[in-house]
């Protein structure tokens, strides 16, 4: 969605645009981004199959998905500033895809925790959610993203109306904050990496605050 509240994705299906000779770069943008976003999963799966995830593969899988969930979320939040700063409008077309990939990795991360780490021990999972702040915050982040993913289709944008849709999707900022805080709280010492992610998020949110841009 651009600053006029219009879905960039609408342009994809625009027949007029489609009829024009589409440059190769433009035609390839989405497939390239799609494949790139799959690479972390492929890399983790490849190492898992090859037994190369170290002595504690369950932890490696859970953390690997968690790392990429947060990175994808931050990358998704980078799309619009990048477009506005560089004037490269095409890039706006991949924002929804990257955002959905972020949700995908968030789901994989949560599923690894529930299904591998805890092996569906629901009472233990519930105790974790209630007692352990970083898990409480992480789960809050997952829940925050669910309505956003559910309303990501063009049809849902139409149904909600651009204004309401945009307001709802501002919750992505909250989810990103929860993700970074979750990362901070799960680390015991040596906060450089979470601090780096926090700094990136501050820049991305700061850009929007300065631009007075939703």
């Amino acid at each position: 969605m651009d600053d006029r509240g219009q879905m960039n994705t609408a342009a994809d299906t625009n027949i007029e645009t489609g009829r024009r000779a589409v440059p190769w770069a433009r035609r390839l943008l989405k497939p390239i981004v799609f494949v790139t976003c799959c690479l972390p999963l492929a890399w983790i799966a490849f190492r898992a199959v090859g037994g190369q995830l170290g002595a504690n593969p369950i932890e490696a899988v859970t953390r690997g998905f968690g790392d990429w969930a947060l990175r994808m979320l931050l990358i998704a939040l980078t799309v619009t500033p990048l477009r506005l700063v560089t004037g490269w409008t095409e890039i706006g077309r991949v924002r929804r895809m990257v955002g959905l990939f972020a949700f995908f990795y968030v789901c994989l991360h949560a599923m690894a925790y529930i299904g591998l780490d805890q092996f569906f021990d629901w009472p233990a999972i519930w105790r974790d959610i209630v007692k352990r702040l970083y898990i409480t915050i992480g789960m809050a982040g997952v829940v925050t993203l669910i309505p956003l993913a559910a309303t990501s289709t063009s049809a849902m944008v139409k149904r909600l109306g651009a204004k309401r849709w945009r307001r709802l999707h501002r919750f992505v900022y909250l989810a990103a904050i929860l993700g970074v805080v979750h990362y901070f709280f799960m680390i015991k010492a040596g906060y450089q990496l979470p601090a780096l992610h926090a700094a990136a998020l501050v820049v991305l949110l700061g850009f929007r605050a300065v631009k007075k841009w939703p």
């Binding site: 170290g54 002595a55 504690n56 369950i58 932890e59 591998l116 780490d117 805890q118 092996f119 021990d121 233990a124 105790r127 974790d128 007692k131 352990r132 702040l133 970083y134 709280f185 799960m186 680390i187 015991k188 010492a189 040596g190 906060y191 450089q192």
Partner: protein, 325 residues
């Protein structure tokens, strides 16, 4: 599939590993190319009888006698490869693989150990002289990390009680304090002030140090300690969480005041001085009720004092273990 044990002396009653996994343990170890010989079980007392062998990369230790090895049948020894590649040793970085990757330049020899404080025979000792009066023993212990994972490791070390007796602490000495070497030029983690305040400090109450289970380890799997496992000298108190087992020790002090151990200084709400393994006392970050044995898929219940209740519970008879966590 769970098999229940009734024997109270057995560590096993809660730790049920599927029998087929247990039976495959030798294959699992052999398949990683770690154990060339066979495992001779039982109590021998023969010199040179170190049962477990490493990869043949490090110097093998000789004149080692068999020591404590009371394990449940769900306690197969963790493959050497896992025990030497999955480490918490923040002096070499905070990632689990960092110590193995970054500790190459570290020089564990020559090494001196300073013994000072409230004792009669302190001094500065070359490591060989420090070890000379003591008998090396192989002890197989469970290691339970505060992060809720665990291993079973055959250590080679000397009785800490013997060390304490040798230096004759005075009556006013109530605690023993240990300090890790500080060598930022060889230990990349120490070049950052954002990780932990260096050097790493740990300590024990003197009666804890005198418990027969407490050892100072110099080797594992039949060989000298790899750098990432705390070469050349580390503490091993198996009833406590892993972080108590300070690595690469250069100073041992007998003191009157309770040592300010590093993690308790950094995060006092999460880490205490005692750090006894206790499934009933929660850590804000990890449930301590269960743990994942490295190599297992399913978690297992964590045992009181890591299964060493019989040996150590008398140390804490009158203590509130919830407040003294």
């Amino acid at each position: 599939m769970l098999i229940r044990h009734a024997k109270p002396s057995d560590v096993a009653s809660h730790e049920i590993t599927p029998r087929d996994v247990y039976l495959r343990r030798r294959d699992m170890i052999a398949s990683t190319g770690l154990i060339a010989g066979s495992m001779a079980l039982g109590w021998g007392g023969d010199a040179n009888a170190a049962l477990y062998q490493g990869p043949g990369v490090h110097t093998p230790l000789t004149n080692v006698v068999e020591g404590y090895r009371k394990l449940g049948e769900k306690d197969p020894v963790t493959p050497y490869e896992a025990a030497s590649s999955y480490n918490n040793f923040y002096e070499f970085g905070t990632g689990k693989e960092d110590p193995a990757e970054n500790s190459g330049p570290f020089k564990p020899r020559p090494w001196t150990v300073t013994v000072d404080g409230l004792c009669a025979n302190g001094g500065v000792f070359d490591l060989d002289d420090f070890l000379k009066p003591h008998q090396l023993e192989e002890r197989i212990y469970r290691l339970r990390c505060v992060e809720a994972w665990s291993m079973v490791i055959p250590w080679i070390g000397i009785s800490l009680a013997d060390v304490v007796n040798r230096f004759e602490p005075s009556g006013s000495a109530k605690y023993i304090q240990f300090e890790t070497v500080e060598r930022p030029e060889e230990m990349n983690g120490q070049r950052s002030r954002f990780i932990l305040p260096w050097p790493y400090v740990e300590g024990l109450r003197l009666d804890e140090a005198m418990n027969p289970l407490a050892i100072l380890a110099v080797g594992m799997y039949g060989e000298v300690l790899p750098n990432q496992n705390g070469a050349p000298l580390r503490l091993m108190v198996p009833w406590k969480y892993g972080f108590k087992n300070i690595k690469s020790i250069v100073r041992i002090s007998f003191v009157e005041q309770r040592p300010k151990n590093t993690w308790a200084v950094v995060t006092p709400s999460e880490y205490g001085f005692y750090a006894n393994v206790n499934p009933k006392v929660d850590h804000p970050r990890w449930s301590q009720r269960s743990e994942r044995r490295i190599g297992d898929f399913l978690r297992r219940e964590t045992l009181m004092f890591n299964g060493y209740e019989e040996e150590v519970s008398s140390l804490y008879a009158d203590m509130n273990l919830k407040t003294n966590f």
